[in-house]
């Protein structure tokens, strides 16, 4: 099917076409979903190379389950955010285990703050935000990224994270407070004039 005819189709309809062997649907889905998966993984992991691996793996799982996709049960994007989130969390845990093995002591998230400060001194605003995000506990980071950067609504985040809406609100609120705390005092470094 020509690509311009695929543009108005939903992700789910494209997935059905993909499962029926339409190569144009494979291209359309890749163009639509791969950048989103990669961006989310990058925000979660703070590492582009790892983010690409995670996004590629998540999409590979989507391609494999496409023939068995149960229509109407879940949105494709919700499913994808969920898989990216789980794979990224697995990587973060593995990263922490490696760090713990290396230091023989697992650092608390707050212990990352000096690293955040050091990064902010030299880095631009985005790097500073990413460093602060990296210092959050995994679930808080995932909720904050989905809510405030991906711009998703709380009910969808609740489905992605498999928790209640109130738990999402709590995670995002705590995450934002932690970010404010991590970024406090660095406003001048980030180019914001401090009027306090």
């Amino acid at each position: 099917m020509p690509r311009d005819m695929l543009a108005p189709l939903s992700d789910e309809a494209l997935l059905v076409l993909y499962a029926n062997g339409d190569p144009a649907a494979a291209r359309a889905l890749t163009l639509r979903l791969a950048p989103r998966a990669m961006a989310h993984a990058a925000r979660m992991l703070g590492d582009r190379s790892e983010a690409e691996d995670v996004a590629q793996e998540a999409l590979l799982r989507l391609w494999r389950i496409a023939p068995d996709w149960r229509q109407g049960e879940a949105q494709v994007s919700t499913w994808l955010y969920q898989v990216v989130g789980n794979l990224a969390t697995d990587r973060l845990r593995a990263r922490k285990r490696r760090r713990a093995d290396a230091l023989d002591d697992a650092p608390e998230p707050a212990d990352d703050a000096p690293g955040v400060v050091a990064a902010m001194i030299e880095a631009d605003r985005m790097a500073a935000l990413q460093s602060a995000l990296d210092a959050l506990p995994d679930r808080q980071r995932q909720a904050v990224v989905l809510r405030h950067i991906e711009g998703l609504a709380n009910p969808e985040i609740a489905r992605i994270m498999e928790i209640g809406v109130e738990a999402v609100e709590s995670l995002t609120a705590r995450g934002k407070r932690a970010l404010v705390s991590l970024l406090a005092g660095r406003r001048a470094d980030l180019g914001y004039e401090d009027a306090e």
Partner: protein, 118 residues
Amino acid sequence: MTQHDDTLEDLFRAARATPPVADDDFMARVLNDALAAQPAARRIRPAPPRSLWTRLAAALGGAVAVAGIGTAAMAGLVIGYVQPEPMLTLAGSFGVQSVESLELLPGFDALLTEDLMQ
């Protein structure tokens, strides 16, 4: 605290405006995966050609209808040849006597004769 919240909102806005860009190599890898994992297109096979008998049976209403018609035809032939007593009695009650021969097209011979004479 409000200024700090504003700072954070500003950073979020900037982050939304500048998402990490997927490069061409990554996109190519994902597309290769997609095409490699894609099921082959399902081909719709044309229906096999149907025989004359199959089409005739379908036109008459299927195999069951053909069996019914065949049974009725056989029963008619048997009754016609055997002429069982109960049937003759039944026919007699309608004023029909035993039939030895039946002229299906009366007057046809005359027509033939006329044709031959011309």
